[in-house]
């Protein structure tokens, strides 16, 4: 359980990016992390959309936390999440049609993200406005970072391009952009991320056994 001091906003953001990274540490929302990361642009845009929804949902739930009866908190969280996703979807379609053309498909998917519901339940429903907002920013940034890294490698190795621009001329490893390759990429990167953080941990506390 995350219980950080009310003023440690940097710590909250670091927590979301490293210690409780949605994909690499909590292993939540793996479905989108595999489905949309076969090119860099998609992965990045999805991350941005999630970041926005996560922050808005955390803020709303934090403000309403004393009003919601604990027995029906989950349906209410779902309602708030789908409300925000729908608002995002409709406003983008109206005011940013060009961006919506590229991101529209992903925005509706966000309703079903375990990571957003998990943060609502574990953090925002128990914390005040400001910490909840920064938790949302941290978790959203962590998700954005993870998707960007995964899609970077998948597009580079699977298609030989980045953001649609060709980079490598050799025949790419097609499997990496197919769903099976998504599991490989996420697994290998998750292993690498955890190995790195374990090594850091050891360096910081050399006396403590790993």
């Amino acid at each position: 359980m995350t219980q950080t001091g009310t003023t440690d906003y940097v710590g909250l953001i670091r927590n979301g990016i490293f210690k409780e990274n949605t994909i690499f540490k909590l292993a939540l929302s793996l479905c989108p992390s595999i489905a949309v990361t076969n090119n860099l642009r998609n992965g990045f845009l999805m991350g941005v959309a999630v970041l926005f929804v996560q922050v808005m949902v955390n803020i709303t739930i934090s403000l309403m936390r004393n009003f919601i009866h604990p027995r029906i908190r989950l349906p209410i969280f779902m309602l708030i999440i789908s409300g925000w996703v729908t608002i995002t979807d409709m406003s983008m379609a109206a005011f940013a049609p060009e961006a919506y053309k590229q991101m529209g498909l992903y925005i509706q998917l966000i309703v079903a993200f375990a990571s957003i519901l998990a943060r609502a339940e574990m953090f925002a429903s128990k914390n005040k406005f400001m910490p909840s907002m920064f938790d949302g920013i941290g978790m959203g940034l962590g998700f954005l970072l993870a998707l960007t890294v995964i899609s970077f490698f998948r597009e580079l190795l699977g298609k030989g391009s980045l953001w649609g621009f060709p980079i490598i001329q050799a025949k790419p490893l097609l499997i990496l952009i197919l769903p099976a390759g998504g599991f490989f990429a996420v697994g290998i990167l998750m292993g690498f991320f955890n190995w790195m953080s374990m090594r850091n941990e050891k360096r910081r506390h050399p006396d403590r056994a790993a």
Binding site: M46, M90, A93, Q108
Partner: protein, 196 residues
């Protein structure tokens, strides 16, 4: 559960649904006319892009495909007809794919354009890529067929998105071209020879 709990739960749900519903209604009321206008502008731009050398693009009529309303157009340069454009739908993996197909006056495909769809991000949405769409240029109705192997004679499926590729090629585009051939040709040669 006490009566007080039940009351509070009821109140919770009523309030959240009401406020949520109101907010969504307001957002929808504000955004839907803009969305509609955007769609009209996008369609006009797409039509222009498909036949850039045309002076006028006139609507010829309406038709229905997959129980959806669609339109078809004639593109003219001066007074000569240089081609036709038809809107068509194909049943894809997770949506109906809204497509515009431009043909020349011999009913060979000039270019296609995807107006809207909700196919799988990263796989099915590759139907919007130029490398897929460019395959349609100069294909007649007999060559609107999807193959999974490398081909230039037919249309090559997108890896991981065969259903979406087929929906565009063998459903939307082929039906559109078929309809145009029958309708427009039929009208043009009305007095010349009738086969039926």
């Amino acid at each position: 559960m006490t009566g007080k709990d039940m009351l509070k739960i009821t109140m919770n749900l009523v309030v959240v649904y009401l406020i949520g519903g109101l907010i969504l209604a307001v957002v929808y009321a504000k955004t839907s006319p803009i969305m509609y206008r955007n769609a009209v502008v996008a369609k006009e731009a797409a039509l222009r892009k498909l036949v850039p050398e045309a002076d006028t693009i006139e609507k010829l009529g309406d038709w229905t495909v997959h129980e959806k309303h669609a339109e078809y157009f004639v593109a003219k340069k001066g007074d000569t007809v240089i081609g036709y454009i038809i809107q068509s739908f194909g049943k894809g993996y997770s949506s109906y794919i809204n497509t515009l197909v431009a043909v020349d006056k011999d009913f060979k495909v000039r270019m296609i354009s995807i107006l809207g769809h909700a196919e799988t991000p990263g796989l099915g949405d590759e139907i919007e890529s130029d490398s897929f769409k460019n395959q349609f240029t100069d294909k007649d109705i007999d060559h609107l067929k999807v193959l999974k192997t490398e081909t230039t004679e037919y249309v090559q499926a997108i890896s991981g998105a065969t259903i979406s590729s087929r929906a565009v090629t063998e459903d939307a585009v082929r039906n559109g071209v078929d309809f145009l051939t029958k309708t427009v040709k039929g009208e043009g040669s009305d007095d010349a020879d009738r086969h039926d």
